[in-house]
């Protein structure tokens, strides 16, 4: 199983980092205004927005290799939540596109979004 690459500082993400928790619920609304709600899924799924700046060429290359090894959104990997250190074993990238920009030497940036998969 692949593991999400860490930076040379051993960090996974930089500020500003985003984290989402998503439930899947359905609501049935009746004519009298009352509602009945139920769960569509067994629990929440997590998603992380990772914006990386000031990367050096080795770090960018590692992220590119990781993206290629995953074939974009297809592959699964283990991801360590940078907030609490919990490891989520079944995650994947959400996007099919990885854009990296080298503004100068040792000054690259990119954005990734990781999502937890169910099942």
């Amino acid at each position: 199983m692949l593991t999400f690459p860490i930076l040379k500082t051993a960090a996974v993400a930089q500020y500003p980092a985003m984290r989402y928790v998503e439930f899947r619920n359905q609501t049935v609304r009746f004519v009298d205004g009352t509602e009945q709600r139920y769960r569509d899924a067994s629990g929440p799924l997590h998603r992380w927005g990772i914006r990386l700046n000031a990367l050096d060429e080795s770090e960018i290359a590692a992220i590119e290799e990781f993206f290629a090894a995953n074939q974009g959104a297809f592959g699964n990997f283990a991801f360590t939540d940078p907030w609490d250190g919990q490891v989520y074993n079944n995650c994947s990238l959400t996007g099919e596109t990885l854009e990296v920009q080298a503004l100068a030497e040792m000054c690259g940036n990119t954005v990734l979004t990781v999502q937890e998969n169910r099942g």
């Binding site: 569509d40 899924a41 060429e57 080795s58 290799e65 074939q71 297809f74 080298a102």
Partner: protein, 260 residues
């Protein structure tokens, strides 16, 4: 086959470089959030946006001639990733892309300069010089820089091979990055890079890298390498701005699709 031109400095592009890699996956997401995925391994593409500033007349002329020869997006060409390591499997010297000499033993899992175990030990057990080489489908006349981290318990000489040219570098017991930049003299469509050791030498190596420029940048581990055959210009228009005497700027968009 056409070849994307280098600038007068030997570099292939200037900062900023924007690179976009795209893959294709068919995803069927069910109501509870479970996903069923189907990969399209050959549906990937890579795009570069190369921004040039302060080009001289001769550099601009080379770009214009190339654009005319490619006829915009019509004809394919060889493109070397300006931000990449051209060698494939740079961290796996036992991969078949590497050709070791018959008397050269290659051993992995050696402690590398970064504290991991990704280095390799090359031991020449023969009576003559032995080399490990990799041949890439790139123009032999380009300016290249080859670099590699080396150390050896006994001082020795390692020779970096770049096509027909050779550069001797001393190796000691500390990790040092040796590099060698040279232009090939031929018009061949492939060029070999390698490291040659004298008889009896044992050298630990890590991070071999080849770049289409005059000096080495930070090491980038690879699997596929940075040579793109069949790349194309993404546009049929080349917009050039003359900002002064002998000073020009333009932007070039290049695309390489795995399925073409």
């Amino acid at each position: 086959m056409l070849i994307y031109p280098q600038l007068g400095t030997g570099a292939l592009s200037q900062f900023p470089i924007r690179k976009r890699r795209t893959q294709r996956t068919v995803v069927n997401t069910t109501a509870d959030g479970t996903s069923i995925k189907l990969a399209d391994a050959s549906g990937g593409a890579t795009q570069w946006e190369l921004t040039y500033e302060e080009l001289s007349d001769s550099e601009l002329s080379a770009l214009e001639q190339f654009f005319a020869a490619a006829e915009g997006s019509l004809n394919g060409f060889v493109f070397l990733d300006p931000a990449g390591n051209l060698l494939a499997w740079s961290g796996k010297l036992d991969n078949p892309v590497w050709t070791p000499g018959p008397m050269l033993s290659v051993t992995g899992s050696i402690v590398d300069p970064w504290g991991g175990t990704q280095a390799w030990r090359l031991a020449n057990t023969g009576n003559g010089a032995q080399a490990i080489t990799q041949t890439i489908q790139a123009p032999s006349g380009y300016l290249y820089c080859m670099s590699v981290y080396v150390r050896s318990p006994l001082p020795t000489i390692a020779t970096l091979l770049l096509g027909a040219t050779r550069g001797d570098r001393s190796v000691n017991s500390q990790w040092n990055r040796i590099e060698f930049a040279a232009s090939g003299d031929g018009t061949e469509s492939s060029v070999s890079f390698g490291l040659e050791l004298p008889a009896g030498a044992s050298v630990e190596v890590s991070g071999p890298q080849v770049e289409p420029q005059g000096a080495a940048s930070l090491y980038k581990a690879t699997t596929t390498g940075g040579v793109y055959l069949g790349a194309r210009l993404a546009n049929d228009t080349l917009k050039i701005t003359a900002t002064g005497l002998n000073r020009h700027s333009c932007t070039v968009n290049i695309i390489h699709a795995d399925h073409l």
